[in-house]
Each structure stands twice: as structure tokens, then as C-alpha cells.
């Protein structure tokens, strides 16, 4: 095993790209659900409405991660 094979990077850069791409949505989802829980705890009677708004936000945040997923698969 020579020094070149030791340092060989196997795989595809797009996977790393996708990994980076999940960071933002990950943080976003954390904030989103955390805040939703917080506000539900503060006003339990509004939980239905909060949940609805939370899911709209979830859809928007997840689109980013999904675009990353598609990009990782599609772009060679």
C-alpha cells in the first residue's frame, strides 16, 4: 500500500455537498419545532393553529434539504 492509495478519496463530492446542504435545514427545523413547542406550551389552546403554521414552515425549510438531495443525485 503506497502513499497515494492511502490518501485516496473514494466516492463522490456531491455527497459531501448534500451533507453541507442539510446543515441549514437541520438548524432551521430545530428552531422551527423548538419554537412551535415553546408557543404550544405557552398557549395550549392555540396548538392547532401553531401546528398548521409549523407544517407550512416545515414544508418551506425541507424544500432546501430536498433540493440538496436531488442535486446530489442528479449532478455528476
Amino acid at each position: 500500500m503506497n502513499i497515494i492509495t492511502l490518501a485516496e478519496v473514494a466516492g463522490n463530492l456531491s455527497v459531501i455537498g448534500y451533507g453541507l446542504g442539510t446543515l441549514g435545514p437541520g438548524i432551521g427545523l430545530g428552531i422551527l419545532f423548538g419554537k412551535a413547542m415553546e408557543s404550544t406550551a405557552r398557549q395550549p389552546e392555540m396548538s392547532g393553529k401553531i401546528q398548521t403554521i409549523m407544517f407550512i414552515g416545515l414544508a418551506l425549510v425541507e424544500v432546501l434539504a430536498l433540493i440538496g438531495f436531488v442535486a446530489a443525485l442528479v449532478i455528476k
Partner: protein, 174 residues
Amino acid sequence: MTVAAEDGIDLFIPHVYDMVWSAIILVIVALFFYKYFLPKFNAIFDERSSKIEGGIENAKKAQKQADEAKRKYEDQLSTARVEASKIRDDARAEASHIIADARSRADAEASQISQSAQRSIESQHQQALVKLRGEVGTLAAALAGRILGAKLQDGAVQSQMIDGLLDEISDNKQ
């Protein structure tokens, strides 16, 4: 194993047959849910809730009836109680009445008896007095005649003396 030459993008390119089968399956499943599954379960839910509501209604009705019956019984009970106390009062009044009656009757009888006794005593007394007066007169006359003897042949003096004696006696007596 196959060569992994197919691009990832192939995943996102829909095939015609895939579309056809997806659409067919969707239509079948949707028809099943719209026409059979959910109406069936909704009917069951509705029936159950109506049953439960009916059950609650029945229970309410029974409760109401029971309440009514209870109230009726209580009413009856209280009227019976009132009646009983009334009867008791009546009886007590009557009893005291009877006692008072008996007492007054006994009183009256007693007084009557004592009165009649008094009266008979009085009449006997009177009788005795009258008899005594007669006897005492003749006795005294005889006695005086014997004592005085012949001194008193004069009838007039005799009777005058007797009368005076008698008056004295009766004056003394009174």
C-alpha cells in the same frame, strides 16, 4: 451485479407505465375509500354516537321518572305523617274530653248523692223534731200534772203554762 452506470437523474424521470399504474391504483383506492370504506365507518360512528345519545336520553328519562316517583312517595309519606299526627292529636283531645266528661259526671253524681243524703238527714231531723215536740209536750204536761197535782185543775192555766214552756224551749233551741 450490474454496472452502476445509470445516472441518479433517472430516478426522477417518470416512465409512462409507472404513470399508468399509479393512476389506475390511485383511482381504485380513491373509489374504494370514497364510496365504501369511509361511508361505512362514518355510518358506524354516527350509529354509535346516536346509540350513546339515545342511551343517555333513556337514562335521563329513567332518572326523571325515579325522581318523580321518589317525590310522590315522599309527598305521600309526609301527608301520612301529618295525618297520623292529626289522628294522634284528635285521639288525645278525645281522651282528655272523655276524662273530663267522666270527671264532671262523677262530680255531679257525687254532689247529687251528697245532696240527697243531706236532704234525707234533714227530713229525718225534722221528723224527729216534730215527734219530739209532741212527745215532749205530753210528757211535760203529764210530768207537770203529776208534780203539781191538783193545783192545776184549771185547764186554762195548764195550757198557758205549757205554751210558755214550749216557747222557752224553742227560743232556747234557736
